[in-house]
Assembly symmetry: C2
Homo-oligomer: 289 residues x 2
Amino acid sequence: MTAPDPSLLSLNTATVRAQWALPEIIAGCVRHGIGRIAPWRDQVAQAGLADTARRIRDAGLALSGYCRGGMFPALDAAGLRAARDDNRRAVDEALTLGAPCLVLVVGGLPKDANDRPASKDLAGARAMVQDGIGELLAYARPAGMPLAIEPLHPMYAADRACVNTLGQANDLCDALGPGLGVIVDIYHVWWDPALQREIARAGRAESAPGASRLMGFHLCDWLVPTQDLLLDRGMMGDGVIDIPLLRSWMEDAGYRGPHEVEIFSAGNWWKRDPDEVLATCKARHAAVC
Amino acid sequence: MTAPDPSLLSLNTATVRAQWALPEIIAGCVRHGIGRIAPWRDQVAQAGLADTARRIRDAGLALSGYCRGGMFPALDAAGLRAARDDNRRAVDEALTLGAPCLVLVVGGLPKDANDRPASKDLAGARAMVQDGIGELLAYARPAGMPLAIEPLHPMYAADRACVNTLGQANDLCDALGPGLGVIVDIYHVWWDPALQREIARAGRAESAPGASRLMGFHLCDWLVPTQDLLLDRGMMGDGVIDIPLLRSWMEDAGYRGPHEVEIFSAGNWWKRDPDEVLATCKARHAAVC
């Protein structure tokens, strides 16, 4: 593999969220020559939507995605309605920000008021996800905002996302039609023996000829040992994922889009000087991706 | 679902390994009326193989499996040979103990001398696993000891087992033929959208008509939140797995074998009075499985 095009590097703002607010992250990207960014809703809300849109535009940054919609399953009709309304607001925000897609983390089992799983019906949760995405597509498609399902690692099936393989996400795209695609986050899917085949399938996008479903490629690494299920992701090169191999599968499938670095790391990268983190992202992107 | 047959309950000895040595576990099973047991090799080695075989026989216990062979991938020919030899010894021990199968945890990426992953070649590791099982089958099949592949959760792909779905295990059985089967441990596979289909496939055992591949059914539960990737498994009923549903899929596929409770729980069950743990296993098996 040749080294990746450095202009494809994008910073998911979660990577330095512990150190910087969104305006500082935007300025940091400019300072480090990182031309793309993927902001999170809570950070945008804190900094102000219109102000953030202006800052990003003034900085000359492109978005690689907007994090995130989803969390569809709920215990009752009121909960489902609340999720629907919140997801519509996320679509509106993504449009204001000029995002190329709204990333969907679809949710796990329905939760009670204390945020604890209140059901063991995984198939039911998956049906709610399909219904919820279908309903959101009816809102997002005419507005021109693509939705991108991000399959999450199976260890998050109960509490974060019950779409756990790229195959499942492709099946949802088959069922629900145009305007829907997938995010390939290597942390979540690197282990999957069907990965190469399902990336190729997403690239072919049989249900929407000419329109690839591949809407994003997220990078970090799987550490051994992993100390925490959520907050111990590694910097590219520090773990066991063969990133150039996975990138080659994406490129073979026609993907030419951003390489978005997204690292949740409470014990390491969130404790470092954020300028060092950004410099390391750039260096590792060039060296090991 | 009707309650499960209590005589099917088996204790995987890891469940109380922190509190009791193997002779105490055997005595505990007798005291609690648990008629089946699945011992681990290190515990057997500590207690003595011949002595353990005699104790289990004298106690009138049946085995539900022997834990464990596997760990096939290695960096070099010497490492592969060492794994082969060790696995043959495991087959011999399983025969001495009268186990119905040797459970295989197949291993992850090849490791260096410090037990750290020394390769990112996941496909290569999977090929070593297939070769290693094939070679072990040539030893185990004529000896009459079935081998049972236990797919492990994808979060163990790097360091413990690169067979991460029941579909993968079934593919290996297709490729390698009779004498090989699968263990369905609900902790590892409960999230898999293809699970019901792959259990049915294993029950049909198309490559070996009349001989089901379903060689074991392991129980515990998936806790939310899970505090540790390895040592925070839950007691049945304390997590989110719909155990009766998964048992119904096993029974629909023709499985009538043991229900083996295997709980790694450094923070909870390993700290409790082991008699309480065994009593709880029995009660939960009857109530929520």
